[in-house]
């Protein structure tokens, strides 16, 4: 059993409010990914959970017990750092054993545990090496080993893959996922890479400027974004957002750029100014649809099997995904988007309506 709960956790660095009343529930055995742009406070959040940084206000509970005041040593968590932070003067064996020695684990137990993780992570042949004698991927694996050997209740990972090349990233990402399935341990994984977040997570918590803006399964956050930030942050290329006005008398949305296109809606925005969002992959080259736009192809970016098209619809730039060779630059086309793929947001707050 290891459930982690954060309630109203806030942290300032000087005047800078880095974490703003963060609430987060992490369930037992879950792989929770914290996703957000660089500088949004992900590392700070993890440091506070680990006890390396003090929190200014709020509560952190592990299995219902408040641990906010405990030193890191008594929190029973292990962490993998953004730049691995292996001890440069110790070899791999000593690096993995260090945390166990600090926790007064017997020498014999240390030996079995180090060998156990060495076999698990296939680093047995590296045990005598110093960190500088290893490649980036090997170091990252050792850093994971150091954390696993502790048998912690919670496993914290701060962008463990960010320093690796694309291939190694995929490989170690898969290993982490396997490891999580095998150990059944609660993991908090921080990243700014949405692809990593989507592929790894049980649930994703999306952070923006010190706040958690949405928590949910990868499908939920992708298909049901609660704010325009989440909508545009996830997906590549990002979601199209076009301005519209809500007319309460007819219960319909009028597109702002031409004023002509009218779209009936069931939602009731609080203010007339709205944003309509739809993903590039939901744009169809059809005559019929709930939202229909006319335009001409401006730019084509082939990506192999498909291509991304930037389409100019009377001054409105719309991104669309099409199959390669389907379109050519300058061609006049009609776009249609089905209403189930349309998201309506309040323009002022950015919140979903």
């Amino acid at each position: 059993m290891s459930e982690l709960r954060l309630e109203h956790v806030s942290k300032r660095f000087g005047r800078n409010l880095v974490l703003d009343r963060v609430n987060l529930d992490i369930r037992d055995g879950e792989l929770m990914v914290i996703l957000g742009p660089s500088g949004c406070g992900k590392s700070t959040l993890l440091s506070i959970v680990a006890g390396i940084e003090d929190l200014d206000s709020g509560i952190i509970c592990l299995n219902g017990q408040s641990i906010g005041h405990l030193p890191p040593r008594n929190r029973d968590m292990a962490m993998v750092f953004q730049n691995h932070a292996l001890y440069p003067h110790m070899n791999v064996y000593e690096n993995i054993a260090f945390g166990l020695r600090m926790h007064k684990v017997s020498a014999e137990e240390i030996r079995t545990r180090v060998n156990e993780v060495a076999v698990m992570l296939e680093i047995e042949h590296l045990l005598k090496r110093k960190p500088r004698q290893m490649s980036g991927g090997e170091r990252q694996r050792v850093a994971m080993g150091r954390a696993i050997a502790r048998h912690p209740q919670i496993f914290l990972l701060d962008e463990p893959l960010s320093s690796l090349d694309a291939q190694l990233r995929t490989q170690i990402r898969t290993e982490i996922k396997k490891l999580h399935a095998k150990l059944g341990i609660t993991m908090v994984f921080v990243t700014h890479d949405q692809f990593e977040a989507m592929t790894l997570s049980d649930r994703i918590a999306i952070m923006d400027r010190g706040r958690i803006v949405q928590v949910g399964t990868p499908d939920e956050v992708y298909h049901h974004p609660m704010t325009t930030f989440v909508a545009t942050f996830l997906g590549n290329p990002s979601m199209n957002l076009i301005s519209a006005r809500y007319d309460a008398s007819t219960c319909s949305l009028h597109l702002a750029h031409d004023g002509g296109t009218v779209l009936p809606t069931k939602s009731t925005p609080p203010l007339p100014a709205c944003l309509i969002g739809f993903r590039p992959e939901h744009v169809r080259l059809e005559e019929q649809g709930d939202l229909v736009l006319d335009g001409s192809v401006d730019v084509l970016e082939p990506t192999g099997s498909d291509a991304f098209a930037l389409i100019d619809c009377h001054g409105l730039a719309v991104k669309a995904r099409c199959s390669n060779g389907e379109l050519s630059v300058g061609r006049r086309i009609r776009l249609a988007i089905a209403s189930e793929h349309l998201h309506v947001f309040d323009a002022a707050s950015g919140n979903r309506v």
Partner: protein, 305 residues
């Protein structure tokens, strides 16, 4: 094609310039090193093999005679012993004090920058100023030190720090440490700052307390700094001259005679340039040997921190 040929010829024309420019830039330094360092050093070694005196312009080559005289001279051996003790005591104190203060000012204390700058002042001061300052401090009549000790009731009569055989070593080592330890502090501070803060964070998560972090992170990461400072202190202290000369000139008697003061005395007071040069050459050879052993040792050659 035209372009290809063009760049080719330009490259060929440029080739001698590639050596000329660095050579021209290095030349002033090399000339200065030669004039003020290599030439006098070579002269010293050469004179140590002659019977040259200050008074006489003619001299003859006498082989290792100066050295055999030196090695049978009890004064030389005593000065040698003094130099070693001085080096060990002053050098260790410098390293201890320098390391300690570096640890202090590396912490997030208020006015840290100000403290760091203030602590460097003794090192910035010229030796002559430091020497004269301490002479006044030690003075039996005007000296602050005697004044304090008498007023505290610790002594009744002023102590002649630079004359009293019991105190003179203390009186020489104190200002030496006073001006030298800030340099050691600076070196250790640089080394401390190069330790990644993430290592401490990792150690905290691994459960290390403050003392264990010091023992298992700070000290091992400073191994190179300790070795380097050790070597530098051996060199600096073993050839130390200015302060001792300003304060005691090796006295009272030969109580604080070092190899450096002995060499100076022979060359400029005894006018026996050859003999004094032999003493200076011994200093050079000792330090040269220590440096070679040090720099060749696997501990300092390995790149790990």
């Amino acid at each position: 094609m035209q372009i290809l040929i063009d760049t080719d010829s330009r490259k060929r024309r440029k080739a001698p310039g590639l050596f000329l420019l660095p050579g021209a830039l290095l030349a002033p330094t090399l000339i200065i090193v030669f004039v003020v360092l290599l030439y006098p050093a070579a002269c010293t070694i050469f004179f140590s093999l002659t019977d040259k005196t200050m008074a006489d312009t003619t001299y003859s080559f006498i082989g290792l005679k100066n050295y055999s005289n030196l090695f049978s001279d009890p004064k030389f051996w005593m000065a040698f012993q003094h130099s070693i003790i001085f080096t060990l005591v002053a050098g260790s104190l410098n390293i201890l004090l320098g390391f300690g203060t570096a640890l202090l000012v590396n912490r997030a204390i208020p006015f840290r920058g100000l403290f760091r700058s203030l602590l460097l002042i003794p090192w910035v001061m010229p030796h002559i100023v430091t020497g004269l300052m301490f002479r006044w401090l030690y003075n039996d009549f005007y000296g602050y030190l005697n004044y304090l000790l008498i007023h505290a009731g610790l002594i009744e009569k002023p102590i002649l720090f630079l004359v009293d055989r019991a105190f003179v070593w203390l009186a020489v080592i104190l200002p030496t440490v006073w001006y030298e330890y800030p340099f050691v502090m600076l070196m250790f501070l640089a080394a401390l700052q190069s330790i990644s803060p993430d290592l401490y964070r990792a150690a905290k998560v691994d459960g290390a307390n403050a003392f264990q972090q010091f023992l298992h992170i700070t000290l091992p990461c400073l191994k190179q700094a300790f070795l380097l400072n050790g070597l530098l202190q051996i060199i600096f202290m073993f050839k130390s001259f200015n302060l001792v000369w300003i304060l005691t000139q090796g006295g009272p008697g030969d109580r604080t005679e070092l190899l450096s003061t002995l060499a100076y005395r022979h060359v400029f007071e005894g006018f026996s340039t050859g003999y004094g040069s032999a003493v200076a050459t011994v200093i050079f050879l000792v330090l040269f040997a220590v440096s070679i052993v040090y720099l060749a040792s696997p501990a300092i050659r390995s790149e790990e921190p």
